[in-house]
Structure formats: C-alpha cells, structure tokens
C-alpha cells in the first residue's frame, strides 16, 4: 500500500490539472470570501451592514470563512480531483498497466484513497493559510485588532473541512468506479452538487415537509450544517444549520465510509476491460 501511495503521489503531483484545481479553489475562496465582501465594504455599498461585513473578514472568523466554500463550490473541486484520480485510469486504459505489474486491486485503491486524503488535506490547509493571510491584511489595513481562533478550534475546523472535502472526493471516487470514466462522473457529480442540492433546498424543502426532513440525511446539507457550526456565513451557498455540528459530522463520516466501501467493492468485483 505504501508503494502504491508513492506511485499515486508521483502521478498526482506531476499532473498539471491538480495544480490548476488547487489554484481555482484558492481563487474562488479568496474572491468570494474576502475580496468581493471587502470591496463592497470599502466603497460603502454594504450600507448599514458594512461594520458587520468587516467583522466577518477578520482573523477570528478564519475557521468558518475557510470551510464555508466546501459544502458546494470547493467541494466540487474535490469531487473533480477524485474523479480525475480514479476515472482517468479507465479513460486512459491504465488500470491494466498498473494491475499487471502485480499489486492487488485493493492495494492500488487504498493508495489512491490515501493520496486523495493527502491532497484534500493540502487543499484545506491552503484555504486556511490563504484565508489567514487575507484576513490579516484586511485587519492591518483597517486598523482592527488581530485575534486568531484558538488552536483547538483551528484543529477542529481543519478536521471538519477535511471531512467535508473527503466526502465529496469519496462521492467522486464512487461515480468514477461506477461509470468507469471521467466525463460522465464529473458531469453528474456537478449536477448533483450545484443543481440538485440547491433545487432541493430552495424549491422543494420549503413546500414539502418530507423533503425538508430528507435534507437532514443528505451529504450536502450536512456539510453545510458542519460549516455553519464553525461560523461559516449563512449567506454562503449551501451553508445552513439544518442539524447540529456533531450530528452532521457523524452523518458525513457515514457517507464517506459508504462511498469508499461501495466503490472498493465494485472495483474488486468488476472486470477491467
């Protein structure tokens, strides 16, 4: 498994798409979490909400700001990364190249999961680092006191962000194995993440009680609830406290386990064509 992790790490680090996705995630996070709100504050277009807007950009809100994008748009980045990691082996026909070298399917699969876990951790840490820098610059520019979150809160926030991103990565892995490719898994994954979740939350849940209840068991709303528990703004897409943070973490862990076990079972059983 260690050997498989090393091999997967070479592939991921040398793949230009990996760095492009990380860059896109950082840019999205910076623009929509810090730059756009700060620009609105700076030119006064935030009106009476301006002071509250500035508070939301300061270092003590780092945890919520850093994981607020993960339930939807940065989660989509994690999903795409996972589909590329697993689905490209089908698209390029490289499963046979890997497996005829001798490692078991399980070893290769675990290597991929480990490298995805490392990549999503790097993604989350980068979001925190960039967020910390941005909030510090804003605090200095606006002569505001700099109060950082407690170390325990930071650690819990990073862990929660990692869990959310791994759930979406696990979803991507499952789609890639089931659909044996790249394009369709990414397409369907994004449709779920960006369209279906929003339709359920914004259209169906307000008018159907059972959909509102169903929301409490779906991965997206639970990811949003976990982010909300760490102070992510409720105006952030996908962030809403539909359940408590603890329950959300348990549900997400269940989804992650389910996704990777199901994908592993399919990979183990099916022919490599």
């Amino acid at each position: 498994m260690w050997a498989s992790w090393q091999a997967e790490a070479i592939k991921m680090v040398r793949r230009p798409g990996t760095w492009l996705l990380l860059t896109v995630a950082v840019v999205l996070s910076l623009v929509f979490t810090y730059l756009a709100p700060y620009a609105a504050y700076a030119d006064g277009s935030g009106g009476v909400l301006s002071d509250r807007a500035l508070d939301a950009l300061l270092p003590d809100r780092l945890v919520g700001n850093s994981i607020g994008g993960l339930p939807v748009f940065i989660g989509a980045i994690a999903l795409i990364l996972a589909v590329l990691t697993v689905g490209a082996e089908y698209a390029w026909g490289t499963w046979k190249t890997l497996l005829t070298q001798g490692p078991s399917r399980l070893a290769v699969y675990l290597g991929k999961l480990l490298v995805l876990a490392a990549a999503t951790l790097v993604l989350v840490l980068t979001l925190f680092a960039v967020g910390a820098l941005a909030s510090l610059l804003i605090a200095v520019a606006e002569s505001q006191p700099v109060h950082w979150p407690a170390v325990g809160d930071l650690a819990l926030g990073i862990g929660s962000g990692w869990l959310i991103s791994m759930v979406w990565a696990g979803f991507g892995v499952l789609l890639a194995v089931l659909l044996r490719g790249v394009a369709l898994p990414i397409g369907l994954g994004l449709v779920w993440l960006l369209a279906v979740q929003n339709l359920l939350a914004a259209v169906a849940a307000p008018i159907l009680d059972w959909v509102a209840e169903l929301q409490k068991g779906l991965p997206g709303p639970n990811a949003g609830a976990l982010a909300a528990a760490f102070g992510a703004g409720s105006d952030t897409p996908g962030v809403a406290a539909v359940v408590g943070g603890g329950q959300a973490a348990v549900v997400l862990a269940g989804y992650l386990l389910g996704f990777v076990l199901l994908a592993g079972a399919y990979l183990h059983r099916r022919d490599i064509l």
Binding site: A3, G93, T94, K96, T97, G102, D271, L273
Partner: protein, 315 residues
C-alpha cells in the same frame, strides 16, 4: 493437437508450468468469448497464440492476468491462481496496446510502475535501452508516435525482469526495422530463459519466432502444436506434360480423391518420400515431368483452414 476434454490442474505434479488453464470459460451474457480452453505454455518456450479478431485471445490473456474473472475453469501462472500473493511477481505483460499517462514522460511512467513494484530505478534505464527508447525517455508520452508508445509498453512489461512475458500484438505500430528489433528482443529474452506467450495477427512473425503455436477460434483451442507440425507436409506438387495423361496416371495410382488440378499442375495428397516412385511411374507412362516438389502449407493457409477464415464472437 488439442485435447477435447478439460483436464484438471493438479498441484504438485512436477514443476508448475508458466501458464496453465483448464476448462477456462468466459461468457458475456449469451456470448461465449472463451469456451473451455485448456492451454499449457512450457518453461522457456515462445508460444504463439493465434486467432482471428474476436476469437477470444485478449479475453484469455486478461483472465490469465486477473483483469477479467473467468465464468468457469481455472488459471495458474507458475502454479498460482489470479489474485494469489506474488502471482505476477515475475510476469510482465502488454495487453491490447500500451496504456500510459500522457502528461508524464516515458521515464516517469516507468518510475510510477517501478515504485509500485519496488523495482530499483536503475532497471528503468536498462529496459529503455532494451527497447531503444532511452534517447526520448524525457519526452512526454503524449508526444510519442504509436511505435514509441508500443516500445514503452514493452519496456513496462520488462521492468520486473520477468520469467514470463505475455505480449499481445507487440509489433503493432512498429516500422519494419522496429518489428525486426522486437523479434530479435523476444529471441534474446527466450534465449535467456524467459518464457514468452505471444499473441499476434502476423503469421509470418509467429512462424519466425515461436516454438509452439495454439490456434483459437470462436473461443476454443482448435490446434496446438509446433509450427513445423502444424504446417505439416501436405503432399507433392507435379508439373507435367501432357497434364491429362499425368492426371489419368496418378488417379489410377493414388485414387481419385487424392488428386487435384490446381493452376495448371497437380497437387497430390501423398508422402513426399514417394516422389521418386511417382516420377518413375509418370515417365514410364510417357509423361514428361517438368517439376516435382514437396507441397508445403504456410502458416496462413493452416490458420484459415483451422479458423474457417472468419471471426468468432467476442474478443
């Protein structure tokens, strides 16, 4: 020639063969891609695996390597079933063309595979030199020609210094010089003790380098023998004047079923050792014999006779 009944693989009965299958079967729904295939490849030989498109060759090779699960029957490589620990430790394979990561260089593609198997990096240069790709090893795989990709695929198969090499159409995309190089490489590997299972459409290639040949048609092994035995000696070719007189005489001597008029001559189903006797008889009957030689079949002819000249169902 092949057996018609599947025989069990008996563990412990002598050293295990590099490749052994018994009753190997693969069904895709109603389609039978491989049908009760019994195949044995012996240590140190170059075994040619022939068959038309869709005859079941690649499905068989995929089952040998554990990529595809058999519907029935057994597979053993060096006595070990697919999925057994270490089953592919000394097995190299190139199945249905090369497949590598397009954004990595040839060198990095091999580095990934070497990491996977714990192969020392020094071996990468060795195999790249073996396939004559060392000069372009730093270029991205996506920029390679088909022939270069094929060479890299073979290099990947050689990475573990295999005792068994399974090659599916290894000369695809190579120019004539590259094909000759590949044949020479296979001969060198065989001479060094590597067993080679070679699937190919190129009958001339198989004829040149294979010790034994198995012919598969519609998922079944229809012949298994040495190339020489398979080609056999079909009879005697006679060119004589007058042809009518010669035909009348040999029909009387051999019987009408053993004489065919082909392209202005006679093809006779008779042992070539009897050529001198035939000559004497024909000359004695007043026939002038211009040519009398053993009639050999080439492998292509045998192949078409065995396979009916058509494709099977699924590849």
């Amino acid at each position: 020639m092949t057996e018609t009944l599947s025989r069990p693989i008996v563990p412990g009965a002598g050293p295990p063969h590099p490749v052994e299958t018994s009753g190997l079967t693969k069904r895709y729904g109603d389609l039978v891609a491989v049908d009760s295939l019994d195949l044995t490849v012996r240590t140190g030989e170059v075994y040619g695996f022939l068959g038309p498109n869709g005859a079941g060759k690649t499905s068989t090779l995929r089952m040998l390597l554990g990529l595809v699960r058999p519907s029935a029957g057994a597979v053993r490589l060096f006595g070990r079933p697919p999925g057994a620990p270490g089953q592919l430790d000394r097995v190299g394979a190139l199945i249905e063309g090369p497949a590598c990561y397009p954004y990595l260089s040839g060198w990095d593609n091999l580095r990934v595979l070497a990491r996977l198997t714990g192969t020392p990096p020094i071996r990468i240069r060795t195999v790249l030199e073996m396939v004559d790709l060392a000069d372009r090893a730093g270029d991205r795989y996506a920029s390679y020609s088909l022939g270069m990709k094929q060479r890299l695929g073979v290099a990947a198969a050689l990475l573990k210094d295999p005792r068994l090499l399974i090659l599916d159409e290894p000369t695809n995309g190579l120019d004539p010089a590259g094909m000759a190089d590949m044949r020479a490489l296979i001969r060198r590997l065989a001479a060094a003790g590597c067993t080679v299972l070679l699937s190919s459409h190129l009958l001339g290639e198989v004829q040149q380098i294979c010790d034994r040949v198995g012919v598969v048609s519609r998922g079944r092994l229809v012949a298994e023998s040495t190339v020489a035995e398979l080609r056999g000696t079909a009879g005697v070719r006679v060119l004589a004047e007058p042809l009518d007189g010669a035909e009348e005489r040999v029909r009387a001597l051999l019987g009408p079923d053993r004489v065919r008029v082909v392209d202005g001559g006679l093809d006779l189903s008779v042992d070539p050792d009897r050529a001198a006797w035939l000559n004497t008889e024909l000359v004695g009957a007043g026939v002038a014999v211009r040519e009398l030689r053993p009639l050999e079949r080439d492998l292509e002819q045998v192949f078409f006779e065995l396979t009916g000249g058509g494709a099977g169902h699924v590849g």
